[in-house]
Symmetry: C2
Subunit: 330 residues, 2 copies
DNA sequence: TTGAAAGCGCTAACAG
DNA sequence: CTGTTAGCGCTTTCAA
């Protein structure tokens, strides 16, 4: 059994409340008593039990962060941004991976709420889910990244995916590409998703009809990028450029091109999305749309703290800019 | 205010304990009552308050994981292994980054203990720290990764760093390299560290004296790998091979070679350590010592669970094997 | 400047 | 099969 406040109080010959006062730095105590108790605390190695405290204060000093997969450097950087500002503010973070699984997303939300985290940051799967809405109706606060939801209990941090992909497509068009395919990532149950929208808008702007067969949905992993693009490039050799939903997919495209002896960027240009750390190290170095991942995390956590500290505040969405980075693959 | 057990009990016209029984699936209850209460729980959206439960059961169903930096794919994969096993067993994980900061390591340990996590997995910095020992004297259980500490409160998961680097050096020797430098990572305050030891052992085995100036200590990041190897290769042009403490450092070496127009592997061979996901994607593809990172995480969490469930158990260290992967850089 | 008592939401032991 | 009582370790009134 760990040392409790009672142990300290008994040893010091004072009441429990007096110990509580020194632990919490509430003045109203004589310097002499304070020092004596501090000495005993150090001697006994007493550590306040935060779960007992939480039960009263209704605060755990813990927040939850839900991402698809921490192994994807994109999420790792976002997580780092979240954690750094959390730590600076005395918060710890519970991290959950949900992969491509809506059910796990829901379970993670419930589990975090049951643990009484003071708030949740969710990078949701792109599938539509009304359970998210009903969750948010009875839990607060949550910050959603890359997903717009107007609700008093939620704040939103957006990435300008549409604009990013538009830039990428325009860049490819300028280089003379006409047949530009897109590996569009997970297929939303409803709507199109920002990035796909950017792709289609840009093509339409040039009077180029977007034919559906040039858009392929898949889980955004390197393995899928490899599989899908290999098939795509074999079946449609006239394709000269591929835009990927994220860099991992793009890495898969590079791999496929290498195997098919397709020269990058001459025979096939590639543009990714995210600009993860390693995009600059692969060969050829990947052109991509840069997202300031660390800042996304910081912004999300900052907003969450604001909502925690002022329960009735409504926070308007913020949209973070993105930037096309042209390297060797396009 | 959230819905409590009392609310449910009142609405159902039963005692609090009865509600507790259905929540915890303790039999001894009539099917009729159970269903009625379950309906009310669903209707009210009641969620058990785990912090209240923890106060009694002395279990939070939460563990702490402390790593240097989740942004390093090595740690991300380990973390994934930990988290998957944790989740399968109903546990959540609090993740802390400590960078290269012993003070943060200590703070993280204290903070996790204060939050009453059921156990801690620590990937410690390689510096010697007697505070770790005194922490472990009064907290249990902890699992240490890549650090041997004999203590009843700790279990240990080791990587065979010495053997891995030995393999790497021998491989380079077989290819005719005589001047092999090592970017040895963080300098331990005491001892040499496993990987450096492997380096020196292998060289001595060949009668090659290890001259100290071929060993360079630094934080194991790409930036440091770049800086240190650039200087090293400029000052000692006779060096024909470099072993790096981890893949990130090795990426920096690749970068430096590219800038100095040194051809890899002809003029300078490079071997890394970890085999992070991207080592196979950089150019030239990196030869490295593979660690099964996911398994490291799984093993660590499994051991932690064992210790949590049987408080008096002592667990003997496990050493996981490593494997030299020869690619293009050597 | 200090203490006593109540209670956060739940479980555990024991009755009924 | 169900209820009552006590109390986990702490903070928060309110008194002294």
């Amino acid at each position: 059994m760990a040392i409790t406040m009672k142990d300290v109080a008994e040893k010091a010959g004072v009441s429990i409340k007096t110990v509580s006062r020194v632990v919490n730095n509430q003045g109203e105590i004589s310097a002499e008593t304070r020092q004596r108790i501090e000495a005993i605390i150090a001697e006994l190695g007493y550590r306040p039990n935060l779960v007992a405290r939480s039960l009263i204060t209704q605060r755990t000093l813990t927040i939850g962060l839900i991402v698809v997969d921490i192994t994807n450097p994109f999420f790792a950087e976002v997580a780092r941004g979240v954690q750094d500002v959390a730590r600076q503010n005395g918060y710890n973070v519970l991290l959950c991976n949900i992969d491509d699984n809506l059910h796990e997303q829901q379970k993670a939300l419930e589990s975090l709420a049951a643990h009484s985290v003071d708030g949740i940051i969710l990078f949701p799967l792109e599938y539509y889910d009304d359970r998210l809405l009903s969750f948010v109706n009875q839990y607060r606060p949550v910050v959603l990244i890359n997903h717009l939801l107007q609700h008093p209990n939620v704040a939103v941090v957006l990435l300008d995916g549409a604009h990013g992909v538009q830039q990428a497509v325009n860049h490819l068009l300028e280089r003379g590409h006409q047949e530009i395919a897109m590996l569009a990532g997970p297929k939303p149950i409803t709507g199109r998703g920002q990035r796909l929208q950017g792709y289609q808008t840009a093509l339409q702007g040039q009077g180029l009809a977007d034919s559906a067969n040039r858009v392929i949905f898949s889980i955004p992993t390197q393995a899928q990028g490899y599989e899908q693009s290999k098939q795509l490039l074999s079946q449609h050799p006239h394709i000269t450029a591929i835009i990927a939903y994220n860099d991992l997919l793009a890495f898969g495209v590079i791999q496929a091109c290498r195997e098919l002896n397709i020269v990058i960027p001459d025979q096939c240009a590639i543009v990714g999305f995210d600009d993860i750390y390693f995009s600059n190290l692969v060969h050829p170095a990947l052109s991509t749309v840069r997202v300031n991942k660390y800042e996304v995390g910081q912004q999300a956590m900052t907003r969450l703290l604001t909502m925690i500290n002022d329960p009735k505040l409504t926070i308007s969405p913020i949209k973070l800019g993105v930037e096309l980075i042209v390297r060797e693959s396009s």
